[in-house]
Structure formats: C-alpha cells, structure tokens
Symmetry: C2
Subunit: 266 residues, 2 copies
C-alpha cells in the first residue's frame, strides 16, 4: 500500500518518531534505519522494511524504485511525506530522504550457528550505541558471524547503533544473553573465548587463537569483571606505551579481531 | 584565588558554559576537561588548568587536594559551586564533580618534533569529535608522537573529543594544517606517509613500514581524496570480508597503527 502523510500529528508519524526510544522499540518490535545505502544493504541481505518512508521531491533513484517495488510486492507499506516530517522522525538535521521500519530480529543465542564463522565478537555491558554499531561494522569486515551482547548493553537497534553499523546490523548475527546463559551455550560446543586482559596474559601477536574464536571486550569504564576474564580460554595483552592502560572498546575489539583473522588465515 | 559561585547567572558560569561552543573556545583560547582522572593525567603531563571548578559536597580525595594546591600555587583560580551548576557547565547529566579550564595549545606543525616518535597519526577532514578523541587515545597507546589534523576536522578541544581521548589530549602532540602546508612540512624532513587505500595497494600485514611513519585516515563519508592517496609513500589494504568496503576511521587508524608498531619493533 502506498499513501501520503502531510501532518506532524499523524499517528504513523508519532509511532515512527517513538521508535527513537528503546521502550517503544521493544513494545512494537520495530526499529528504524535511515538512508538509501543502508536500506539497499538490507535488501541485498534479504531484509525488507515493513514500511518505507520517503521524502517527497527527492531525486528518483533506480535503487529506491527497486526497493519500493519489493516492499509493495512483499505486502509492506510505502509512505510519502515531507522532508521536515522525515527529519522529525529520524531526529537528524539532514535526513537522507528515506528511512525504513524493520521488525527486530530474533536475538536468542540459539539462532546463531557458531560453525558458520571463524570469528565472533562479544560485548559485555557496552553502554555506547556507537561502539556497538562500530563493532558490528568491524565484524562484517573481518568476516565474523555476529555480535553477542552480554549483560546490560546498549540497544543494537537504536538509531545511533544502526547508523554506526553502516548496514552491518543486517548482515551480522546479533544475540543478547546474560553471562551465565552465554557461558553455558558456549561450553556446550566448540569455541575459544578470548579477552584482552592484564591478568596472566600472553602477547596478542602470535597467541594460539583457534576457531571459532569469540573475541570479548568489556564495559567502557569498568572493563570485564575479573571472573569473566578468568573464564576465558586465552587472555592476551596489547602494547600500551603511553599513560593510558586501555583502548576504546570498539578499537580493542578491532585490533584483536584483525589479529585473530591473520592468525587463523595465515 | 579560591571563590564560591552560587548563581547560574554568574558571568564565570556563563563563560565556562560557552566553552562547549567552538566559536567561544577559539575566542577565549580555552577549553574544558572534566573528571579527576583526566585532570590528574593533565597534571602528570605538566598541564595545569587555569581554573579548577569543583562541586561542593563532593568527597575529599588526595589527588584533588594536590591538584587544588598546584593550581593555587601556579596563580590559577579554584571555584567551588553546586553540582547543578557544574552539570550545566559541562552539559552532562552526571558530572564528575570537577572540571578544569585549560589554555589551548600551540597547534602549529612547527611545534612537533618528528624525531621524537616512530608513529604519528594523521586525520583528514574527520568530522566526529569522538573519532578524534579515540585517535588521540590510540596514539597514546601505540606511543605515537601526536595527531595531525588536515583540512577541516572537528575540534580536538571540544568536550566530546577531550572526553573520548581519556586524557591523551594532554599527552599527544596536536597540530592543525591544510594539506599543502602539511605535505610541505612532511617532505622537508624524514617521514613515510601511509594510508589505507584500494588503489595499487599492498597488504597491510608485512608492508615495508619505516619510521617516522605517518598513518593517515580520511573523512568518515568520503575517505581520502584521490590525490592525497597518490601522494602517500605507501598504500595498504586491510581485508574486507563482508559487504562493507571500509572501517570506522578511528578503527582503521588503530588497526594500522598497531601493525606499524609491531613491524617497527618486531
């Protein structure tokens, strides 16, 4: 179905705008992604929005027309509105002229097939949605299977995380679990759990990484709890030559993940 | 001098609050840093705030007392105010109870001594202050000499960049220059300019890095201009195994910088 919306107070506009808030995303089971690039990546990964929202007057684009056709063919809705209303929905000054509303995915551990990839990223209590999105993007780059969110992490379906993921939210598996649930799942199959640590750790270059390798980083302020580190199969250290004793969490995950990739493929 | 401020409309409060805005930072030549950890790192690096702002009723701390003593001894000012006013100044819901006002540093290229470090980071038109701060933090970790900002970058003295740098804004050199000015400076001495690129590039692992090595990343959306890439001494590629063709800029800088570090020290 295709329809036009012209008023800020339209209930659909209110619903879409409410999706910037986690509580409403969870209640509706929906999330927002902006921009033709992201929506095209989603389509290429077999994910179509339930609702496609376009600003009127935007330049025609063959990819947008293809997307619109697919959304309508799959029974979804296409909404045409003003650039002002679209920017109110996405909360961004320069909206990209198009946004999509997607159903949130199944994020249970059982939906992951650990044998499908050599590398998996694990984030524990990561609070910054930008860091989560960046980890998804890095995971895509290193050929990871997905990102597992342990304990109380930021929402991977927030607009900020989706944006920072640059489309990887659609290509990477995403699971959410408590620590004990994750550890039980991990130990029920193959898998090496690796963390950057200062405790009885070996240098990260040349460490004995093994697939499937689960690369874990901890909360931005506190790092990983000690017992989580001790439960790891391998603790590695990266050189810290300055005053600081840690890296940004998404940076640490990336430096480690690229080392694991080189080690497993070398 | 030590004084107490109780009113939101106090001119000093207005001045401090205005430092969240780049225009005012430039006009005053001042910037803000929050938190005891950051201020202690600054002090250890020989940088004292001109003005130390503390919330009344905060727990006493020997490091804070030492800092207060040093600021007063150096002719600086100590201001005691309410937690509410402090949070209004820093624009953060949970202020850390203390903030400092610092004079901006000399950011001319001539202030850098390229022989003082094997690695330097270079950011071209990076727009995200969080990315700049993260690059400073990474630079500290790999023992870089500093961060050189080319063309129109975000402000490294913004509250967001200072926060993300985790204190590295005080330990890393920072220079700002246009591309031609930078290239002239670079070619007037030793230095290898390296960028991640898809053009006639070699694998980033095992590439012939040489000190002092200048690791350059480009704008978040557009990457580096082609002529900038062509001016590099070495173009390297990192594996991209997924749909995306690039990494987050601060992540790319870190993966490359750690590779350079391992290569130069190995």
């Amino acid at each position: 179905m295709r329809r036009e919306i012209t008023g800020f107070s339209n209930p659909t506009v209110k619903l879409l705008k409410s999706l910037r808030d986690k509580k409403h995303r969870k209640r509706e089971g929906l999330f927002l992604a902006e921009g033709l690039r992201l929506l095209t990546d989603a389509r290429a990964s077999g994910r179509l929005p339930q609702m496609l929202v376009m600003a009127n007057g935007r330049d025609p684009h063959p990819l947008l027309e293809a997307l619109e056709g697919d959304v309508l063919a799959s029974g979804g809705e296409v909404i045409v509105t003003s650039a002002d209303i679209l920017s109110k929905i996405t909360g961004k000054d320069n909206p990209q002229g198009v946004a999509g509303v997607f159903a949130e995915f199944d994020t249970s551990l059982s939906a992951l097939d650990r044998s499908s990839a050599n590398i998996w990223l694990v984030a524990q209590a990561l609070r910054d949605p930008g860091n989560l999105g960046t980890m998804l993007r890095t995971g895509d780059a290193v050929g990871a299977g997905g990102l597992i969110l342990i304990d109380d992490c930021a929402d991977p379906f927030s607009v900020e995380a989706v944006r920072a993921s640059m489309g990887a939210v659609f290509t990477q598996g995403i699971a959410q679990a408590g620590w004990n649930e994750f550890l039980g799942w991990l130990r029920a199959g193959e898998g090496q759990l690796v963390a950057a640590s200062l405790r009885e750790a070996v240098p990260y270059r040349g460490a004995p990484y093994a697939a499937p390798c689960f690369v874990m980083v901890g909360n931005e302020s506190r790092g990983l709890p000690e017992d989580y580190e001790l439960a790891c199969d391998l603790r590695v250290t990266m050189p810290m030559k300055g005053r600081a004793d840690s890296l940004n969490a998404a940076v640490a995950a990336a430096v480690l993940a690229y080392e694991v990739l080189a080690s497993l493929e070398g």
